[in-house]
C-alpha cells in the first residue's frame, strides 16, 4: 500500500513537472521565440551545407553559401529588382481583383439562398478544377504579357476568398438581422452594419489563405511564358543548370510570401480592432 502510494505520488509529480514545462514553453515571449526561430533556421542551413556534396549530390541541392552568393550577385548587379517588381505587381493586382470578386460573389450568394442553391454545383465543380492547368489557356486568352499572370493569380484567389466569405455571411446571427429588420433597417444598413462586420474574420481567413496562391499563380504564369519575373528566373536558372540560382529565386519568393502574409495580417488587426477577442 505504501509502495503504491509512493509510486502514484511520483507519477503525479512527474506529470505535474511535464505540464509545467509545456506551459512555460507555450508562454515563451515573442523576442525569445524570434531568437529560437532564427536559431532553427540557421540549424537547417548548417545541416544543408554539411549534407551538400556529402550525403546529397550538390548538383541536385546546391548549398546555402552558393545560394547566398547568387542572391548577392543579383542584388549587387541590380538585376533582381526588375524581376521582383514584375512578380509583386502581377501578384498584387491579381490578388486585388480575385479578392474583390471573391468578396462580392461571396456576399451576394451568401445573402441569396436561391442563387446560392442554383449556382452551387457549378461553383464547386469549377473549384475542383486544377486551375494551374488553365495556365496555357490563359496565355491564349490574355496573351504573353502580364495580363495572363494577373488572371491566373486572380482565379486562384477568387475561389478561396469566395468560399470563406460565403461561409462568413451565412454564419451571421439571424436573430440580429431579424431584429434590425423589425426596427426598420434597410438591406444596405443590415449589410454594412451587421453582415460585413460579422463576416470580416471569415473574409480575412480567406484573404490570408489566398495570398500565397496569388503568388503561385503569378509564378506559374511566369514559368510558362515571360521575359521577367521570379518564375522566369526559376525557369532560366533551371535551363542553365544553375541549381543555386533556382534556390535563390525560391528564397526571394518565400520572403515575398511572408511579407504579403504580414501585410494582410496587419490590415486585419486594424480592421478588427473593434472586436472583443477574449474575456
Amino acid at each position: 500500500m505504501t509502495v503504491r502510494l509512493d509510486t502514484d505520488q511520483e507519477g503525479r509529480a512527474v506529470r505535474s513537472r511535464k505540464r509545467a514545462a509545456r506551459r512555460s514553453a507555450a508562454e515563451i515571449g515573442t523576442p525569445a521565440m524570434a531568437v529560437l526561430q532564427v536559431a532553427f533556421g540557421v540549424l537547417i542551413l548548417v545541416v544543408w551545407q554539411l549534407a551538400a556534396g556529402r550525403l546529397v549530390d550538390e548538383f541536385m541541392v546546391s548549398n546555402p553559401l552558393a545560394v547566398i552568393s547568387r542572391l548577392w550577385e543579383w542584388i549587387a548587379s541590380g538585376t533582381i529588382w526588375i524581376h521582383v517588381w514584375a512578380t509583386v505587381y502581377a501578384t498584387l493586382v491579381g490578388f486585388a481583383i480575385g479578392a474583390a470578386a471573391g468578396v462580392v460573389g461571396g456576399v451576394w450568394l451568401g445573402l441569396s439562398p436561391f442563387l446560392s442553391r442554383l449556382l452551387n454545383p457549378y461553383i464547386w465543380a469549377f473549384n475542383a478544377l486544377p486551375k494551374v492547368a488553365l495556365a496555357p489557356l490563359f496565355i491564349l486568352w490574355f496573351g504573353l504579357d502580364i495580363n495572363s499572370k494577373i488572371a491566373l493569380a486572380a482565379v486562384l484567389v477568387v475561389f478561396l476568398v469566395f468560399v470563406s466569405t460565403f461561409s462568413g455571411v451565412r454564419e451571421v446571427d439571424r436573430d440580429l438581422t431579424d431584429s434590425l429588420r423589425l426596427m426598420g433597417a434597410s438591406r444596405s444598413q443590415i449589410l454594412f452594419k451587421v453582415v460585413l462586420p460579422s463576416a470580416t474574420s471569415w473574409i480575412f481567413v480567406g484573404l490570408k489563405t489566398s495570398v500565397p496562391y496569388a503568388l503561385i499563380g503569378t509564378i506559374i504564369g511566369e514559368m510558362i511564358a515571360a521575359n521577367r519575373g521570379l518564375g522566369y528566373l526559376v525557369q532560366l536558372a533551371g535551363s542553365e543548370f544553375d541549381t543555386a540560382g533556382v534556390f535563390a529565386a525560391l528564397v526571394v519568393i518565400s520572403v515575398l510570401a511572408v511579407i504579403f502574409n504580414e501585410i494582410v495580417g496587419s490590415v486585419q488587426l486594424r480592421m478588427e480592432g473593434w472586436k472583443v477577442v477574449g474575456r
Binding site: M60, P136, I139, I224, A226, N227, L236
Partner: protein
C-alpha cells in the same frame, strides 16, 4: 517668347523620338525555354545584330513548342523559334504558319546511354547499337513527342518494337532530370535535348550511343528542323520586316558558326556551364546549325515521314516554308 521656345523644344523632341522609333521597328519573338539550339537568337541580341537591322527585338521565353506555336499562330508574337514538327502538325490540322529560316537541319537529340551500355557497344554498327536498347528503359522528353517518334523510327528500322522491347520513361526537357534519372538508375539510356548529353558525360554518367546530331542516321539528316516561323498575315502585311528578321538571323548564324566568336558568345549566354562543358556543347550543337538557313521540300517530307502528324487536312508543303526572304 518663353512659350514659343518650349513649343519648339517639344516639337523637336517629338521629331527625334519619332525618328528614333521609326529607325527601330519593334518585333516580338518567342523562344522555347533557353535552349542552346537557339544560338543565333542570343548572338543577334548580344552582338546588336537586331539593332543593326533596325529591329527593337523583345524576346519572350515560353515553356514548350506548343506554346510557342500558339503565340505565333494567334499573332500574339510576330515570330517564333519553333520546331518544323509543330508547323507540320498544325498544317495537318488546317492551321498554317510559315517557316522563314532554318536554324537547325538535324534533331536536337542524340541517344545517350549509361557507361555499361556504352562500353558493351563500343565500335559496334548502328544496327547493333540500336538493338542493344532492347530490354532497357529509355528516357524521352514527352509522350508522343519527337524524341519518342524518332526512337520508333530507329526501332522499326532495326527490328525492335516500341513499347515492348524498349520501355519508355518521360523525363521532360530539363537536363537536370536526366542527370537525376541516370544517377538513380531510373533509365539506362535517353534521348534528351542537347547539351544534356554533354552534361551527363561531364558527370561521368554516360555518353553518346547514337550520334544523330552528327548525321549518323540518314533519316534524320538534311531536315527542316528548328526554324524561325511567322504567321501568313505577317508575310502579306509586312514583308520588309520579315526580310529584316531573316537577314538578322542569317548574320547571327554566320557569327555563331565562327568557332572563335560563337563559342565565346554562347559561353556568355550560359555562364553557369564550365568552359569545358560549353566547348563540348558548342561542338555538339554546332553540327546541326545550318550555314544559310535554306529549306528544301525533301527536308520537309523527311520530317513528315517520321512524324506522321495526326490530322485530316492535306499538307501543302510549299505553304509551310519559304526561302523567299533569304538572299539569292
Amino acid at each position: 517668347m518663353k512659350s514659343i521656345r518650349f513649343a519648339l523644344v517639344a516639337v523637336l523632341s517629338a521629331m527625334v523620338m519619332c525618328t528614333a522609333a521609326a529607325a527601330q521597328e519593334a518585333v516580338k519573338i518567342v523562344n522555347i525555354g533557353h535552349g542552346y539550339f537557339s544560338g543565333p537568337l542570343y548572338v543577334a541580341v548580344r552582338e546588336g545584330i537586331f539593332k543593326k537591322h533596325g529591329l527593337d527585338a523583345e524576346v519572350i521565353t515560353v515553356k514548350g513548342g506548343a506554346l510557342a506555336f500558339q503565340a505565333v499562330f494567334t499573332e500574339e508574337a510576330d515570330f517564333g523559334i519553333l520546331s518544323y514538327e509543330h508547323v507540320l502538325t498544325a498544317a495537318a490540322q488546317g492551321r498554317n504558319i510559315v517557316s522563314i529560316f532554318n536554324i537547325a537541319d538535324r534533331p536536337l537529340n542524340n541517344v545517350v546511354a549509361d557507361n555499361e551500355l556504352l562500353e558493351a557497344n563500343k565500335d559496334k554498327s548502328l544496327a547493333e547499337r540500336v538493338r542493344a536498347l532492347k530490354g532497357h528503359r529509355v528516357g524521352t522528353p514527352s509522350a508522343g513527342g519527337s524524341g519518342e517518334k524518332m526512337l520508333r523510327v530507329l526501332a522499326r528500322e532495326y527490328g525492335l518494337t516500341l513499347p515492348g522491347d524498349v520501355e519508355l520513361a518521360y523525363l521532360g526537357g530539363d537536363p537536370a532530370a536526366y542527370v537525376g534519372a541516370f544517377r538513380g538508375d531510373v533509365v539506362d539510356a535517353a534521348m534528351p535535348f542537347e547539351p544534356a548529353g554533354v552534361l551527363l558525360e561531364q558527370e561521368g554518367l554516360g555518353g553518346t550511343l547514337i550520334n544523330i546530331m552528327s548525321g549518323e542516321v540518314e533519316a534524320f539528316r538534311d531536315l527542316i528542323f528548328m526554324t524561325v516561323a511567322t504567321y501568313p498575315g505577317m508575310l502579306e502585311k509586312n514583308p520588309e520586316l520579315v526580310k529584316k528578321v531573316v537577314a538578322a538571323f542569317l548574320e547571327a548564324q554566320t557569327v555563331l558558326l565562327d568557332p572563335e566568336r560563337g563559342k565565346a558568345i554562347m559561353a556568355a549566354e550560359f555562364p553557369k556551364l564550365t568552359p569545358e562543358a560549353n566547348d563540348r556543347a558548342y561542338e555538339t550543337v554546332r553540327q546541326i546549325w545550318t550555314e544559310d538557313g535554306r529549306m528544301t521540300l525533301e527536308g520537309a517530307k523527311k520530317v513528315y515521314d517520321y512524324l506522321q502528324p495526326e490530322g485530316t487536312a492535306t499538307i501543302d508543303y510549299e505553304a509551310t516554308f519559304t526561302n523567299a526572304y533569304l538572299p539569292e
